[in-house]
Symmetry: C2
Subunit: 138 residues, 2 copies
C-alpha cells in the first residue's frame, strides 16, 4: 500500500508510535557509532541540563522516516530532505508519536512536503518538515 502523488492532498496525515527502550539506544549507538555518554552514562548525563540519559535525537527523527517510508507515501518513497528542530529530550521509556501531514504537493516535480512533528504526550520533541518523492502509480 502506497500513495502516488495524485492521491496525496494537503491535510492528509499518518503517524507511527514507538516506545524507546534501553535496547533501542544500545543498538542505535552500535549502528551510528554515537556512544556519547549523554546517551549511555548516568553519571555524566546527570551533569547535563537534561539531568539524565536521553535518546539520540536522530533515533527519534528516524520515526519520521518510518511514517513516510512505511505508511504515507509508503514503500518506494524517495527521501529528499529533512529539516527539523529538536525541542525537548526523549528518555528511555517515553512513547514517541511521529505525525506527518501533507503541506504542499508539486505534481510537475513529483515533490511533496510534509509537516512533521514528534511528541511525547503533549510535549513536542521534534518539529519540522520532510520533502519526498512519492512512488509511481503501481
Amino acid at each position: 500500500m502506497s500513495y502516488p502523488i495524485d492521491d496525496l492532498k494537503p491535510g492528509m496525515s499518518a503517524e507511527f508510535a514507538k516506545t524507546v527502550s534501553e535496547h533501542d539506544i544500545t543498538l542505535f549507538g552500535e549502528v551510528s557509532g554515537d556512544t556519547n555518554p549523554v546517551h549511555f552514562d548516568d553519571a555524566f548525563a546527570s551533569t547535563t541540563p537534561f539531568k539524565g540519559r536521553i535518546a539520540h535525537g536522530v533515533l527519534t527523527a528516524s520515526y519520521i522516516s518510518t511514517v513516510l517510508g512505511m505508511q504515507m507515501p509508503g514503500p518506494g518513497t524517495i527521501f529528499l530532505g529533512l529539516n527539523i528542530r529538536f525541542k525537548a529530550p526523549v528518555r528511555i521509556g517515553d512513547t514517541v508519536t511521529a505525525t506527518c501531514t501533507v503541506r504542499d504537493v508539486t505534481a510537475e516535480k513529483r515533490r511533496v512536503v510534509f509537516d512533521c512533528v514528534c511528541k511525547v504526550g503533549d510535549t513536542v520533541v521534534i518539529e519540522g518538515e520532510a520533502t519526498v518523492m512519492p512512488p509511481p502509480k503501481a
Copy 2:
C-alpha cells in the same frame, strides 16, 4: 575531550567514517520500525530508481550526530537542529565519511552552526547544516 564555545572557530572540522553493513541496516530497521522494502527486499528495490537496496537515509544522517556528539563539540553537546538534503543513495558496503565544519559561532546564544557533508568516495550523499549548543567549559 570536548570543545566549549570559546574553542570553536569557523573552519574547524571533524569527521567520522563508517562502512554500512547488512547488519547495520537490519538493526536500524529494528530500532526505527522502518522496514520499508527498499531497504530489505532485493526484488522490490530493483524496481525503484536505485535499482537495488539502499541504506536508510537517517542512518547516514546519524553519522553527523556522531561527529558532533563524539568529536566536535563532543560529549555534552546539545543537538538543536538538522537541515539536510539526501543527494544520492548509500548501499551496503559503502564507506560513508561525515564531515562537520564550523560555519557560525554565536557566543551570546551559545549556538554553533556546522556545515555537514556525508560522502561515499567523491559522491556527496547528504549535505546540509546542524545547529548545536556546545558543552560548557569543563
